[in-house]
């Protein structure tokens, strides 16, 4: 049974009064992650909204020791810390339960500039949790495209809408043969919470990606973050799944879509709710371009359905 929102612990690691926008999905997600991780953890951050909103030296709005590292190095930096802690414990210089080492990184720091170091950390199976909060753009620098930006989406560097589909980063991480991979989003807090608790107790590399609808980049009302997150899942634009030791399980409501028990909502409903697709909707070829977006989603659903059947 998925933990309900009412059952989440009262403890908070995200302290009140930080610099994030109202309705910020990244902060919302981090709050749930904090409830699952508790205070015994070390946090790594790469340049992003979560850094811009965390407060000023020497304070931080998160109740963990936090290290801001260079943009490309979440994977290798987290490896450095986890190895340091483990060897210091082996040598008797640290006592008690070792803290969880986790990176809190945007899609830019995960899909793009940080991909190489993250891939290497996964291949080494170093004992860390890498969280990607995916707002599908570089929000902190004013909304530029990333490898996570979906086809058709406006950003300041895709002024007529992105022409390429996004990559399937979680699947790429799965293909590194790491013990745990999961996707989540803020509209399903219990699902996210349970996945983090699970990851915390698995040694080795864990990857959790959280879809984070950002009102600024996606252009919707900041009070609608959760609705947008839910709409992404219901349309199949975001799939909820987890894989323990390579075996994929879909989570509700994605599992209903995958099993054909429930149809995904047509993507144009989802697309119309967001200003980032406006230009595409207004163009003469809008039907064609929405069909392309729908095609990307249908392909991912079909592909993941088949991929999940491979259990060797």
């Amino acid at each position: 049974m998925t933990t309900s929102i009412k059952q989440l612990p009262d403890t908070e690691q995200v302290l009140s009064g930080n610099g994030a926008c109202g309705g910020c999905p990244a902060t919302m997600a981090l709050r749930i992650v904090g409830k699952a991780l508790g205070p015994n953890a070390i946090m790594l951050l790469t340049p992003s909204c979560s850094v811009a909103s965390m407060g000023m030296t020497p304070k931080l709005g998160y109740n963990w020791p936090g290290i801001n590292i260079t943009f490309a190095t979440a994977g290798s930096s987290a490896s450095g810390i986890t190895h340091a802690l483990e060897i210091m414990k082996e040598k008797g210089r640290l006592e008690g339960e070792l803290p969880t080492v986790f990176s809190w990184v945007g899609d830019g720091g995960t899909y793009d500039i940080g991909f190489q170091a993250l891939s290497a950390a996964a291949e080494r199976n170093d004992n860390i949790i890498h969280f990607c909060y995916n707002n599908e753009a570089y929000s902190n620098t004013g909304v530029q495209r990333s490898g996570a930006t979906p086809r058709g989406s406006f950003t300041t560097t895709t002024p007529t809408g992105k022409r390429q589909p996004k990559k399937n980063m979680a699947l790429l991480m799965l293909e590194h043969n790491i013990p745990y991979v999961a996707t989540a989003t803020v509209a399903y807090p219990g699902d996210l919470y349970d996945k983090v608790v699970k990851a915390k107790n698995i040694p080795g590399m864990k990857y959790i990606e959280i879809l984070a609808p950002c009102y600024l980049g996606w252009q919707f009302d900041m009070s609608d973050t959760v609705q947008m997150s839910r709409a992404a899942v219901r349309s199949g634009a975001w799939l909820l799944w987890e894989a323990e030791n390579g075996k994929i399980t879909f989570n509700n409501p994605t599992s209903l879509i995958i099993n054909g028990k429930k149809a995904a909502e047509p993507v144009d409903e989802y697309v119309k709710k967001q200003g980032r697709f406006n230009r595409l909707l207004k163009g003469a070829d809008s039907a064609e371009r929405i069909a392309e977006i729908q095609g990307d989603i249908d392909r991912e659903i079909a592909f993941m359905r088949e991929r999940a059947k491979i259990t060797i």
Partner: protein, 376 residues
């Protein structure tokens, strides 16, 4: 009491032995010629339980330095090594180590940088990192590499500044020389375990390298600048204490040879400076009062020691194994002139660039160059 042991070792092996003696905790590493064998030694020392440490086989040098920085911030004693384009690739993260005040120690095995591609030594790689806020030593023998790495940990951990220990590719890294290994107990006394003042610790959830307003950022940078200069007495003290512990001495901030009465002073770093001692002898035989001044510490530039050591009215022949692009000569000459200006107007400085891309620097060649420079 155990006594010292003498083995035959390459410079790369000497570096690895020093890391073992320093009881380092974490070694992220990535291969590049001519540094590669240091990483191979480290990996096998860890796998064979000769060194109780973690070797992290990262996927590139940018990550090697990132892992070193992060492990250091977690409280570990760390080491890595690189060369040439590997060092250039680390550039961004070198600033993290110094700005973050982390006592990372790294070897850079000097090699020219491409394009065009070269495998052999010059000093453009480390000179290009001049403004990263690292302390830089430059060594002229295998033994000095060993000794300097241990001294570097002592200094770095006292003042929380990272240190780069440089030595030439091939001439040092791949050449066998006798290496004295002191008893481990003596080194343990000289270099006590690393006890950082601060580390990433959930019991004290503070931020590291967070966004910092100018009012705090500026004094922080000033402090780094001041402390790099303030490391000079610590460098001297470490050399002295190391001598007391092991009997070995390579100079402190500078090393000199037949300098007291010299009228012509060769000024150079790294292995070419060892060869220059022989050039000095050749020149002396020719009736020229030659001497040598080798900065062992290149950064901070040991201005006071150089000013004090140079004989009256000397002609200083700076032999640079690098280019100071935009200026006619090399970087060492420009550094030297800037410290002499207004302080030692009696000194003449002449400069040649040589040995680029591994061109062999023999004692006779350099003696001839110095003679030619005298007539300029």
């Amino acid at each position: 009491m155990k006594t010292a042991q003498v083995i035959m070792a390459t410079g790369a092996n000497a570096a690895a032995q020093a890391v073992k003696y320093a009881r380092v905790d974490v070694v992220p590493g990535y291969p590049i010629t001519p540094q590669t064998s240091i990483m191979e030694y480290m990996a096998s020392m860890v796998e064979n339980d000769e060194l109780n440490a973690r070797f992290i086989p990262v996927e590139g040098e940018h990550s090697a330095m990132a892992a070193a920085v992060a492990a250091s911030a977690a409280g570990a004693r760390v080491f890595t090594a690189t060369s040439s384009n590997g060092l250039l690739y680390m550039h961004e993260v070198l600033h993290m180590a110094s700005g973050g005040r982390l006592p990372v120690v790294m070897c850079n095995v000097n090699r020219g940088i491409f394009a065009p591609w070269t495998l052999w030594s010059d000093h453009q790689d480390s000179m290009a990192q001049r403004d990263t806020g690292w302390i830089q030593y430059h060594c002229s023998s295998n033994q000095e590499v060993f000794n300097t790495i241990l001294q570097a940990y002592r200094v770095a951990e006292q003042i929380n500044i990272p240190i780069m220990v440089n030595f030439d590719g091939f001439a040092i890294s791949h050449c066998l020389m006798p290496l004295t290994l002191p008893p481990q107990e003596d080194i343990d006394q000289f270099l006590p375990p690393h006890k950082p003042e601060w580390r990433l610790d959930p019991a004290n959830p503070s931020s590291f390298s967070n966004v910092t307003m100018a009012a705090e950022y500026a004094p922080f940078r000033q402090m780094l600048s001041d402390d790099i200069i303030a490391s000079i007495p610590l460098v001297k003290q470490a050399a002295q204490e190391y001598k007391e512990a092991t009997g070995m001495w390579d100079g402190d901030t500078i090393d000199t040879y037949r300098l007291e009465d010299a009228e012509v002073v060769a000024f150079a770093i790294n292995s070419m400076a060892a060869e220059l001692k022989l050039s000095v002898d050749i020149l002396r035989e020719q009736g020229i009062k030659a001497g040598l001044l080798r900065p062992r510490l290149y950064l901070p530039f040991p201005a006071e020691d150089i000013i004090a050591a140079l004989p009256q009215n000397a002609q200083v022949m700076v032999l640079d194994r690098n280019y100071n692009f935009g200026h006619p000569g090399g970087i060492l000459a420009s550094e030297l002139k800037s410290v002499l200006f207004g302080r030692r107007n009696d000194i003449t400085v002449k400069n040649r660039v040589m040995g680029i891309g591994g061109i062999d620097l023999t004692r006779r060649f350099m003696a001839a160059e110095i003679r030619a420079m005298m007539d300029e």
